[in-house]
Amino acid sequence: MEIIGIWVAAFLTLCIYSFLYRDNPFYRFAEHLFVGISVGYIIIISIHQGVIPLAWEPLSEAISALWAEIVGTTTPETRNALWGLFRILPIAIGLLFFARLSSRHTWLIRYPIAILIGFGAGVAIPNVLQANIFAQTRGTIEPFAAMNAGTLSVLDTFNAVLIVIGVICTLTYFFFSVEHRGPINWLSKVGIAFLMIGFGAAFGNTVMGRLALLIHRVGFLLNDWMGSIF
């Protein structure tokens, strides 16, 4: 069984790599298979990790608890399960996405969309503000406390000064409502130079990671697949 898996994996790997030559039926086959299988997989995952544990189970338990309450066979556990009835509200909001199927009621879809975007922005913005603004500003200033205390080495002092220059210049580049002329223009030019140096380093670093992935795949073809032939 394992050998069949290796052959299928090797065949599909070669099909995908054939794209390097040009578009061809093998690539198209692998592409459509990949897309189709991934969609099916995501649907099943969504049902098992989303719909069943978050909606179906708590709601069905809550309905059973409600019935137990009505017929008088309630216990502390079933009473606790009654909280599940509150899930009707988010489930109903989620079901509004299906309003798209009816042209007359399609406007209803705007409610879950508005809630989701509002929730998403509300959750994301404070985190972004904290991590990208306050933490970074603090990180830029903090080394100067050590510099004042005389505990910073020459190289670290150079780093701290370089970071301040880099942050100020890069920040200047991202001023949009001010015309980039004179000193602002010079500062923003230095800022873009800092950005490009950073991107260059990130590029090299990521390319190394991608090469590692390629080596892993070639290793699979040479060792696992070719090894199974010879």
Binding site: D23, F97, A121, N148, A202
Partner: protein, 385 residues
């Protein structure tokens, strides 16, 4: 004399032997973990209880701790992993809501003996509506929001707001015009972000502006989506753009479709579309991960004019290398204001610039004060968690 010396030697040896025997016969005594308390974890949703105890000296002979818990006065059971000897607290996140939990801490000695602490009082975890640790962040957000709202108000009264030139956005019209002249489609890729992602929201706003122009020019606009919710939002936005331009007949819902939620299957699908349909313009705007170069390189190979934009800093180098124009980080957020020139968005942009000036001043002031040993700005920033 000799007798005395021998007697003293024998007595001394005997004393040493007796003392040694006594010393080795005693089990080392270990103090039990002291001041063990269990409290509802502050500033959470009522899903955890924190157990704390006093630290012990390094030479105490304790090699670790175990935490034991009971629920509603039931049997005590060990929870979690064994903790290091330096640990002084444990956050129990696997409690049963609404039930009383009591704990005790078990110290493990180097001879594998177990020493139990006193049992704590029973605790019921409760949720808090306000996270007091984030008060500073809350105040900072109110100030920033106020600055943006004031800017929006001012911009509504004075519509002439300057926005500096962003080359990537000036090329949008050129890209759409090129696609129209060539009679080919435009491919708009929103990346892998969900609807809660800031970059995806910015990308959707740009798409709204692009859709206005494609509605005018009757250029086919293809949008493969990675997320079903993003798909619905995008359909609404594009449809609204076509309606606003008075071209509802030109809107084709089937051109905005769900491809797949899997990262590399999505990349394979988009690449296949690029190769087969050969769009004249490709927009890669939003959140991208490792698939960024796969798409940008394929778009480059078919000769499409490519305008990319993302706040994923690790993918920006690939877009800069493979695309014609790239919106770097915040340029993506500024794009919607730049393209639409709407007073609300322009005001928001100006408000953000005021925020940047505040950061600018804070850094310079903070660095100067730190050099003179004054650290209240750092302390203030440390309080923002």
């Amino acid at each position: 004399m000799t007798y005395n010396k021998t007697f003293i030697c024998i007595t001394t040896c005997l004393l040493i032997f007796l003392c040694g025997t006594y010393a080795f016969s005693q089990e080392p005594t270990f103090s039990t973990p002291t001041n063990v308390t269990a409290k509802d974890t502050p500033n959470d949703d009522g899903s955890s209880i924190t157990v704390t105890w006093d630290a012990v000296p390094e030479d105490s002979g304790i090699t670790g701790y175990k935490i034991l818990r009971n629920t509603d006065s039931g049997e005590f059971e060990e929870i979690g992993k064994q903790l290091k000897p330096t640990a002084t607290q444990y956050k129990d996140s696997e409690i049963e809501k609404g039930k009383t939990h009591a704990y005790f801490v078990q110290a493990i000695t180097d001879s594998e003996a177990l020493v139990n602490s006193q049992q704590t009082e029973g605790v019921i975890a409760t949720g808090q509506w306000f996270h007091t640790g984030k008060t500073s962040l809350f105040i900072a957000m109110i100030i920033l929001c106020a600055a943006i709202l004031v800017s929006i108000y001012l911009c509504r009264n004075n519509q002439d707001v300057f926005v500096r030139r962003i080359p990537g956005l000036e090329a949008v019209d050129e890209a759409i015009g090129r696609a129209t002249e060539m009679g080919r489609s435009i491919l708009y890729v929103l990346g892998l972000g969900g609807v809660e992602n800031v970059a995806t929201i910015a990308s959707m706003t740009i798409l709204g502006q692009v859709a206005r122009r494609t509605a005018d020019y009757e250029t086919p606009l293809r949008v493969p989506c990675n997320d079903p919710i993003v798909l619905n939002v995008v359909r609404e936005m594009v449809k609204t753009s076509y309606l606003d331009e008075g071209r509802p007949d030109a809107y084709q819902e089937e051109n905005i479709f769900y491809l797949t939620g899997d990262q590399f299957a999505y990349a394979a699908g988009v690449d296949g579309m690029m190769i087969r349909e050969k769009p004249a313009a490709v927009f890669l705007q939003g959140t991208f991960y490792a698939e960024s170069l796969l798409m940008a390189e394929t778009g480059n190979s078919i000769g499409a004019i490519q305008i990319a934009g993302t706040d994923s800093e690790h993918q920006l180098p690939f877009f800069i290398a493979a695309c014609d124009y790239t919106l770097i980080g915040e340029e993506l957020y500024a794009a919607s204001a730049y393209l639409s020139k709407e007073p609300m968005l322009l005001g928001s942009l100006r408000g953000q610039d005021w925020g940047k000036i505040v950061i600018f001043v804070t850094i310079i002031l903070g660095v100067t004060l730190e050099l003179f040993g004054i650290n209240w700005i750092t302390t203030l920033l440390q309080s923002v968690r």
